[in-house]
């Protein structure tokens, strides 16, 4: 049974999710960015619940265990306020505390720039002061990469996004010119996986981005064409595992019936 790239990406993510996980998914953004930041993570989490991780917990925006059957189609304020779920914290500080304490085991990240060490930039292109392009700031992404067990980066492959060194380190990956994660005082964590529209990456023991799998029909050269640096390339690069018919049907018929999540 044929599948779309979005379905393949969602399946690749879902394979990494476990029943004991508490995953954090942000809300907001629109179009393709919505599919990457919300759609694919949500489909992956739901697929994992139905497939192999029944007890997996989702924290979406400000809502723990949202009723996904009642997912709003329009993200207007009232639709979000009315969305049923298990818990919303009294103030946002409670959620920040949970994050810093390490309650979340998986988080999903997108960024304007990602570098070979998995550093992320959502702050500015160019200098931090008087930049060429000002982006949104910082949010809690730095906390995600610092305190979440296995952050997963979901972005499309592009040489503008995959840069040698990010212009501004909003969130720290595995190393920078300042030193390694360990040298800077981090004990654990860092980005675990990068899922793109052409391939997936993980990171070596030294914290360098490494080609982990190629999507069906994609070559190493096609991947390198879309990157401004060369990742570590193993001798044998496996193909990204394909979802089976049952999993594809779950996505299309149960999880994303209205195609709100994987449309773009």
């Amino acid at each position: 049974m044929s599948f779309t790239t979005n379905e393949l990406m969602a399946y690749a993510v879902s394979r990494r999710l476990r029943s004991e996980d508490l995953v954090f998914i942000g809300v907001g953004t629109a179009g393709r960015a919505y599919t990457l930041a919300v759609g694919i993570p949500l489909v992956a989490s739901r697929l994992a619940q139905l497939d192999h991780a029944p007890d997996l917990d989702i924290y979406l925006g400000n809502l723990l265990s949202p009723d996904l059957a009642k997912m709003p189609t329009q993200l207007t304020q009232d639709a979000i306020t009315r969305w049923p779920g298990a818990h919303a914290p009294a103030d946002i500080g409670n959620k920040v505390d949970a994050l810093v304490r390490g309650d979340f085991t998986v988080s999903f990240e997108s960024a304007a720039q990602v570098d070979r060490w998995g550093n992320l930039n959502i702050t500015a292109i160019g200098a931090a002061e008087a930049p060429d392009v000002r982006l949104v700031g910082t949010l809690a992404q730095a906390e995600h990469l610092a305190f979440v067990e296995r952050p997963i980066i979901v972005v499309d492959l592009s040489s503008r996004t995959f840069v040698e060194e990010v212009d501004v380190i909003s969130s720290f990956g595995h190393a920078s010119t300042q030193g390694s994660r360990r040298q800077l005082g981090y004990s654990t964590g860092g980005p675990a996986l990068v899922v793109t529209d052409l391939c997936t990456f993980d990171f070596t023991g030294q914290g360098l981005m490494r080609l982990n799998s190629l999507h069906p029909g994609v070559t190493v050269d096609q991947v390198l064409d879309q990157m401004s640096f060369e990742p570590v390339i193993p001798d044998q690069v496996p193909q990204t595992p394909k979802p089976n018919e049952e999993q594809i049907k779950l996505i299309r018929n149960e999880i994303d019936e209205g195609q709100a999540l994987l449309r773009h």
């Binding site: 207007t76 946002i92 810093v100 910082t138 809690a140 380190i169 909003s170 969130s171 720290f172 005082g185």
Partner: protein, 292 residues
């Protein structure tokens, strides 16, 4: 308790130029826009603002050219896109920017709420946003290396809220969107101005005191501002005005076009008059949602 009901104009007149102002709300929700527009009408200038996730408030103050600095976790228009005026002003170096990650920003306001000069936070080494105003400290019990952030010290804090009595008791609805820092900002405020959608009798507040998230003891002035977050949203009261946001973003592509747009926005002379005109033009009723 004493009567703290104050006309919006008078409340804003008490905010001095060159002061540091904490501005509440999160994303498109409960940005204190009636107060922000009045700041621009009165020509209050050279403000340093501190925000959580800001959108309309930071963008409008940037467009008005009254900012000396901004500190916060985010400025953008959520799924509508980036903040056009804020973005341009930062790119042109018009004011200084202090990015803060969420745990550090929360600690800034919590320290103020606790009456402490600083709070330690779990360190996030190597990131851009810790370059200024963060010090290393050693835990006296464990020897662990931590980061210390200073207490937020805004001279004035401005928030927009749902309802309150004339004494300044500000109440939540039972069901709301809780994704903001307003409660902590209020707890640590030095001087607090709150605009509310509705002034209600004290008896209504007194019947459910646990819904009072900001007590009158913290509030200096309470102002009535119906649709005070427009064109943003006030959860349980009204949704964001998508059409107006699109006009805003379109005008924001060019500074002169936005200056004209801003002029039109402020032309009514007062918030009350502006809302009356919008209501008269049938612009507001479709945004209203029913409270639960």
């Amino acid at each position: 308790m004493r009567d703290k009901l104050t006309p919006l104009e008078q409340a804003v007149a008490s905010i001095p130029s060159c002061s540091t102002v904490a501005v509440g709300g999160s994303l498109l929700r409960r940005q204190p826009m009636a107060l922000v527009r009045e700041i621009l009408r009165q020509g209050t200038d050279r403000l340093s603002i501190m925000t959580w996730a800001s959108s309309l408030a930071a963008d409008l103050l940037a467009a008005g050219g009254v900012l000396r600095s901004w500190e916060g976790i985010y400025v953008g228009f959520w799924w509508y896109g980036l903040a056009p005026n804020f973005r341009r002003a930062v790119q042109w170096g018009e004011f200084t920017v202090q990015d803060r990650s969420e745990s550090y920003m929360t600690a800034r306001f919590r320290a103020a709420a606790m009456g402490l000069p600083y709070l330690p936070v779990a360190p996030i080494p190597g990131i851009h946003s810790i370059r200024h105003g963060v010090q290393e400290v050693t835990c006296p019990f464990t020897g662990q290396q931590l980061h210390a952030v200073p207490a937020a010290e805004p001279e004035v804090t401005i928030l927009h809220a749902y309802r309150g009595d004339r004494y300044g008791n500000i109440a939540w609805p039972a069901h709301r969107d809780s994704d903001d820092l307003d409660l902590i900002m209020a707890s640590g405020a030095r001087r607090l101005i709150v605009s509310v959608e509705e002034i209600v009798p004290h008896e209504q507040i007194a019947a459910m005191p646990n819904l009072t998230y900001i007590p009158h003891t913290k509030v200096d002035m309470i102002c009535q501002a119906r649709f005070g977050a427009w064109p943003g949203s006030c959860d349980t009261r009204y949704d964001e005005d998508a059409e107006e946001l699109k006009r805003w973003l379109a005008a924001g592509r060019d500074p002169q076009t936005f200056a004209d747009y801003l002029g039109g926005l402020l032309a009514g002379g007062s918030h009350a008059q502006m809302i009356e005109e919008l209501a008269g033009a049938q612009r507001l009723s479709s945004l209203e949602v029913s409270e639960r």
